[in-house]
């Protein structure tokens, strides 16, 4: 049996934080690593420790949770990051996906199936809503067009990364389109003749590409503005 996964929670509401601990403590395959109520505290903790799962609330008092997500993704690439969010917060969710999160939890949803969510995430599947799927479709279509070839040519030493690493495959696109139409993962799996789990991994892979793209974008923008020297 593998070692239990260490879970760290960044949540400013003590009740919610306590609920998480109450839910996680009894799970044999997860281990409560601690919690922090502020982004600053979390960042300090992350500098010294490596969690396996990180739960981050976006509305922190001192700093955006997205900063914590970005730092954790950079420092601990193998850590599974989930953001805790209210419904109707899809824009922020997409923002945290770009920062490197692999999933999200709805605060209002029944948290009793937290274990299910955590296990799914560990197993390589990520949750997604139709609105987020639509958002990603738009983002990737824009990414395909961005930046225009002339810009790349003029910006020396900034070649476009290999398209296979960041562009969505036809299958991934198809998955996103079905999700946007409201089909459940199981239905999509039927339509595409794959397992439900595979649909989940597609979504996770799409999130990964989104994060890579947004990092490349940041590097490109930094190069353009002269923050980084082309090597």
């Amino acid at each position: 049996m593998p070692a239990p996964a260490r879970v760290f929670v960044v949540e400013d509401d003590p009740h919610t934080s306590q609920r998480f601990q109450n839910l996680i403590d009894p799970l044999p395959d997860f281990e409560w690593a601690g919690a922090s109520a502020t982004a600053g505290e979390a960042l300090r903790w992350l500098a010294a420790h490596t969690p396996d799962v990180l739960l981050v609330d976006l509305g922190l008092p001192d700093q955006s949770g997205i900063d914590v997500v970005r730092e954790a993704a950079r420092r601990h690439p193998n850590c599974e990051i989930m953001v805790i969010t209210m419904f109707g917060d899809e824009a922020h969710v997409v923002e945290s996906l770009r920062a490197g999160a692999g999933g999200y939890l709805l605060k209002d949803a029944n948290l009793d199936d937290l274990a299910h969510h955590l296990r799914e995430l560990r197993a390589g599947g990520s949750p997604i809503t139709p609105v987020i799927a639509r958002n990603l479709l738009k983002t990737f279509r824009r990414d395909l067009a961005w930046p225009d070839p002339g810009q790349w040519r003029s910006a020396a030493a900034a070649p476009r990364p290999a398209s296979s690493a960041t562009d969505l495959s036809d299958r991934e696109m198809e998955v996103l389109q079905h999700i946007a139409k409201g089909f459940a993962n199981a239905e999509i799996a039927d339509l595409l003749n794959v397992s439900t789990h595979t649909v989940g991994t597609y979504v996770k892979r799409i999130y990964g590409k989104l994060a890579v793209n947004s990092r490349t974008e940041a590097v490109y923008e930094a190069r353009q503005s002269g923050l980084i020297n082309g090597d």
Binding site: F87, P130, V131, F183, A184, E187
Partner: protein
């Protein structure tokens, strides 16, 4: 008080000083014209005087004692030995000695050999119209063939080298055969005998000023005139330009007598043309001056036109054969007109005090003075050998006028540009105003839209969540509800809040995505309740009219159906599908939600809820809501037109079919 007074007095003296300066310049600048006039006239008079006396300084001897023999019948040979020679001192102007005479006169001049070893020559400053010269019986030169009709060298000096071989030590004899007519101021000037070298210099000097200079000055005048004429043709606004241009052309015709020797037409016809040109240039120039000086003298103008037409007709009709007739009919009236013009220009220059008017007035004055001088020359009141110079002042005058006109033109262009600039500035100003207005309008529009949106959200919250929360609070306080029921009521509130928020998702009217999101949210609960969902949602055409508020209504219909299926109908399956169909010639999108339950709960009447109120809302947004009872189950159809619905006019009904 004291300092104030001092300050005001200081200020007063300063102002007085300033105005004094202005007054003094205004006063003094009027004297510019008289000063220029005086100096230029003095210069012109000195020049004319120098010309009168110029022959006195020439080297050698002036041969003035001569004899003449009038050839009665034209012949080609030298005068016969028995010709009757008579004394005639030189210069001999036919106008004075034989008025009206046309024909040939021989002159015989005898001279001793004044020096030896040096090449000798004779200079004839003026001989008109043509001459041939013989030394001791041998022809030594002269003008062109006297018998050619079109030859007329009236304005050329003549330099003749005396071949040494023909010269004798004593009793040398020069014969001049002179052909002329009364119309050309014919005659022979004095004959200057001197060594060739110095005489040649004098000849070259005379040749330039009499002939070449006239040609050059005339060419410049014509070019200036044509330029002005072309300018006028470009923009026919200022008649000054036309009058001046035409005057210079006429002036050029008038002056052509000075340098055109080989005539294209008969000498008389040419002479008539020249004098007609003189009249026209004078009259056109006078008309120019009248307009330039802003003088309206209609009668005088008619007089001018009468004069120029009559004199042209008379001249071109061949009525003038004699210089005296010409003097009387053209030159004297022209000089009178010149006088009027001079006075007008002088008056204008005095009033304006401007440099340009002073320049015009003084050059015109000099032109008049020299015009009188040339008229005196024609009238034999000046040495016969002298030459015309007024055309040089004419050149100066025309150049001045051309300068004035071009300045006017440039000024009008400048004014045009300035007005263009003003126009552009105004345009920019108007544009800025419009932009400000537009921005303000836009800001107001944004504010309006924001306000409307805020109102809509408030009313959505108020209608839904607000009411539900109040009734939940009421129920909780009254103790009617147990914890599970209270949880259910609060869940409803959250569901309603979700709908409001989801309807606001910026999904660009993508109804399918919103339906999908709704399903996603409900999925765990449906699953928990054992309700299976059949999802048959397909892409639908863009409903351009769909606003967030409409989205909310659509979502509410779906939620109502789902809630009913969950709570009252005890259904096991709910099917959501979209269908696109044509009806009544219009394209419709139909959203169908059907379940296999026991039908709608008629008793479930909640504020703002229920299918009845939803049908009314659907009708208000131009859609049709129908509820179909089936066995088993219920089917709710929401039909939405693809294109702009006719709000209110669409049939609205809850069709209940058996």
């Amino acid at each position: 008080m004291a300092t104030e007074a001092a300050a005001s007095s200081q200020f007063g003296s300063g102002a007085a000083h300033g105005s004094f300066e202005i007054i003094s310049w205004r006063r003094w600048r009027h004297w510019l014209m008289p000063l220029m006039c005086l100096s230029m006239v003095a210069g012109a008079l000195l020049w004319a005087r120098a010309l009168n006396a110029e022959s006195a300084s020439w080297p050698g001897v002036a041969l003035t004692q001569a004899e003449e023999w009038v050839e009665a019948l034209p012949s080609h040979g030298l005068p016969a030995a028995d010709a009757r020679w008579q004394r005639r001192n030189l210069p001999d102007s036919w106008g004075a000695s034989r008025p009206g005479w046309n024909g040939t006169v021989w002159y015989r001049v005898r001279f001793p050999l004044v020096s030896q070893g040096e090449a000798l020559a004779v200079l004839v400053p003026r001989v008109a119209a043509d001459a041939q010269v013989y030394l001791n019986g041998s022809a030594i030169g002269g003008d062109a063939d006297l018998h050619v009709a079109g030859s007329r060298n009236i304005n050329d000096p003549l330099l003749l080298r005396l071949p040494t071989a023909l010269l004798r030590s004593e009793g040398n004899e020069l014969l001049f055969r002179v052909a002329g007519s009364a119309g050309h101021r014919a005659g022979l000037s004095q004959v200057q005998l001197a060594p060739l070298a110095p005489l040649h210099d004098i000849y070259a000097h005379r040749q330039f000023w009499q002939h070449d200079g006239a040609l050059i000055s005339n060419a410049i005048s014509v070019v200036a005139g044509l330029l002005v004429l072309l300018t006028w043709m470009g923009a026919r606004r200022d008649p000054l330009f036309l009058l001046f241009g035409l005057a210079t052309v006429a002036w050029a015709v008038r002056n052509s007598k000075l340098f055109i020797d080989a005539l294209p037409i008969s000498a008389d016809a040419w002479s008539a043309l020249v004098h007609t040109g003189h009249c026209w240039s004078t009259v056109l120039f006078c008309l120019f001056v009248l307009r330039y000086a802003n003088v309206r003298w209609p009668r005088f103008e008619r007089l001018l036109w009468g004069f120029v037409i009559v004199s042209s007709l008379l001249g071109l009709g061949g009525s003038f054969h004699d210089v005296r007739q010409l003097l009387r009919w053209t030159i004297l009236p022209s000089t009178g007109i010149l006088l009027v013009m001079t006075w007008l220009l002088v008056r204008k220059a005095w009033r304006d005090g401007s440099v340009e008017a002073a320049l015009l007035a003084s050059t015109q004055t000099v032109l008049m003075v020299l015009g009188v001088r040339d008229a005196l020359l024609i009238a034999d009141r000046l040495p016969y050998g002298s030459y015309y110079i007024s055309h040089y002042i004419g050149l100066l005058l025309f150049l001045s006028i051309a300068w004035v006109l071009m300045r006017r033109y440039a000024q009008s262009l400048g004014a045009l540009e300035a007005s263009h600039g003003v126009l552009q500035a105004r345009l920019a100003e108007r544009e800025a105003q419009l932009r400000t207005l537009f921005e303000r309008e836009q800001a107001m529009e944004t504010e309006r839209v924001t306000l409307a949106e805020r109102r809509r959200i408030l009313s959505d919250m108020h209608d839904g969540v607000g009411g539900q929360l109040v009734s939940a609070l009421h129920a909780a306080r009254s103790g009617q509800l147990d914890a599970a029921a209270l949880g259910g009521v609060i869940q409803e509130c959250i569901d309603e809040l979700r709908l409001v928020i989801d309807a606001m998702e910026p999904v660009e009217r993508d109804l399918v995505v919103l339906l999908g999101n709704f399903r996603y949210r409900m999925a765990p609960r449906l699953q928990a309740a054992g309700l299976r969902i059949e999802w048959a949602v397909t892409p639908i055409p863009d409903l351009a009219w769909l606003q967030p508020t409409h989205m909310l209504q659509v979502l509410r219909v779906v939620q109502e159906c789902v809630t009913n299926a969950l709570k009252h109908a005890r259904a096991s399956c709910i099917r959501v599908e979209t269908v696109v169909h044509l009806d009544d010639g219009r394209q419709w999108v139909q959203l169908r939600i059907s379940d296999d339950g026991t039908g709608f709960d008629a008793q479930a009447v909640r504020p703002g809820k229920g299918l009845g109120s939803m049908a009314a809302r659907a009708a208000a947004m131009g859609c049709v809501l129908t509820v179909e009872r089936r066995a088993p189950g219920t089917r709710v159809c929401l039909s939405m037109p693809v294109h702009e619905p006719h709000t209110g006019s669409a049939a609205s009904a809850v069709a209940t079919l058996a």
